[in-house]
Symmetry: C2
Subunit: 374 residues, 2 copies
Amino acid sequence: MKTRRIFLQKASLSAMALTVPTLTPFSTMANSISDFTREEKTLRVAIMGLGSYGTRVAEAIQSCKRVKLVGVISGTPSKVVKWREKYGIPEKNCYNYENFDAIKDNPDIDAVYVITPNALHKDEVIRVAKAGKHAICEKPMAVNAADGQEMVDACKAAGVHLLIGYRMHFEPNTLEVIRMRKAGELGEIRFFQGLAGFTIGDPTQWRLDPALSGGGAMMDIGIYSTNGARYMVGEEPIWVTAQEVKTNPEKFKEGIDETITFQLGFPSGVIASCLSTYNMNNLDRFYLNGSKGWVEMQPSTGYGPIKGMTHKGPLNEPIVTHQTVQMDEMAAIIFDGKRPEVPVNGEEGVKDMKIIDAIFQAVKTGGKVSLNLA
Amino acid sequence: MKTRRIFLQKASLSAMALTVPTLTPFSTMANSISDFTREEKTLRVAIMGLGSYGTRVAEAIQSCKRVKLVGVISGTPSKVVKWREKYGIPEKNCYNYENFDAIKDNPDIDAVYVITPNALHKDEVIRVAKAGKHAICEKPMAVNAADGQEMVDACKAAGVHLLIGYRMHFEPNTLEVIRMRKAGELGEIRFFQGLAGFTIGDPTQWRLDPALSGGGAMMDIGIYSTNGARYMVGEEPIWVTAQEVKTNPEKFKEGIDETITFQLGFPSGVIASCLSTYNMNNLDRFYLNGSKGWVEMQPSTGYGPIKGMTHKGPLNEPIVTHQTVQMDEMAAIIFDGKRPEVPVNGEEGVKDMKIIDAIFQAVKTGGKVSLNLA
């Protein structure tokens, strides 16, 4: 049956190529292919970096319809043993950071999900691309926009997808808010507020080492507000201002931001006012104010159920495991050319990196920094 | 009985003066006097400016225990007739803007509550002071800090009180939050957020005329967040940054701010992130985040019941008419030397004006403006 469908699909493509005289964009073709293959093609993923978030993704993949965890890349052999046992991963699909370029000769792996410290993403994603595998990269995609752009270019050159782990782009309540905004139910958007932060523990972790993290709270948690401001408002910001305070310079060393407030100005006149912090509790809140209504989400980006109120009542979309939906949708993007409501490609990642670059610059200069993300 | 108490009080004062060798500060003396006279002395007030807020204050005074509305100052004779009838105000206590200096010869008026457009406050308060009457002035006290300071100086020179209409300083739920913060129930304060605004109607009103208002939303409604940030955080800010957007320059002319976001930095590292706007609905929200707890108030400064949640549960202090409590407490400040939990004197008003001056400067320069309010 599988063979027959693939045959039909190929036949239909050949027929199209013969009979349609105008150029058919690739994405359209891909969508038509998807009608045939959506249920067929499974994305076979190796996870690079077996830390706590890697573990969460691995667990979530177990519930995926079309994603399978088939490999690992890790520098810790004891972890590899555990994962092999737990997920039935064959030894030939296990790599370390020295030898993982050999993945190019492994036909059983389609994509690598890079879940390592931020500063390592660039080289790792480029190596994945050079191995001819699709790269999924946790956010922030890099430690600055220039590195992010290099990653985009490398993946393009290699003809592989680069997708960033923006799980909120597939979260049902978030998508419902975007639908409401697009349908005009909120009227003209006027204001967005994003508060994101937590009190970070262990001072020896890589998130507090600038060489590995490329920044502090802003990179790790503030990015939810840069990204959220954009998908909630539905525009790209044109300026940034930002202010930093540091109450504990021993814990939050040079290059590690503790608390930053930042503001984004949008072409329509919307302002986003955001807070990013490693020094506060209870901060996972989005607020969107429009001329006809409002939305408040809390928690707005956490792993647990996203909860929200609007002027029309509570947000009641289905509760899902974010990473499960994300991975299934990414399979559809890679194999079917599906276009998500909000992009998760490398270009989307670069936009957030440009905003974060501008935030750091605004903190330094104390002035307003212009942005051009179009 | 009254006579006897006053006699005892005088006798006790004389005895103190004779037996206590050290200087007794005036405020301490005043507090000890208050124990005898609190229920006795009624503050007899004339209201200057019979607009909608003047009307609200007049109504609230009807429920006061120790404040009586006894006079009016108005430029509209028809309003004076109505008020005279409604509140039983004798003709001899009615003035207009030309002749109200003659109030100095009226022994039946103790204080004048100035409730006129912002830009008029300075001259009016100074005239009230020169007439030897206590001045209560609606906020903002003036259109800039220099004018505010002139008012403070004039009242000091005349030996009269200058009190600013900070009604929230007497609001029970607000005071409960301040109590919680002082008692350490919130831990170290880390972040304050104040969102204040509404969609302003009639474009011909004085609030949208820079010659009368001295500014737009910031003067009118943003001041709730400058003031609220200070009493919620319990510190004085040391820097200000601010950003302005204007989507409707026809309605919001030069000198009238439509929407401003501003940030205040405090010595301990607390940041306040605030929004002031004439172009949004549903904005009357305070949020205070500490290391051990949090408080959220909505509405936070409106006339209606103030509502709030904390990490310990809802704020459930008695619901009061703000202006009734404010006026009774102001009588106690004037006659008994009572010290309110949060000051409402002219110096307090000047602090907010200094912050607003700095906000306007920060908008212009785009940079961080230092503050010294100590």
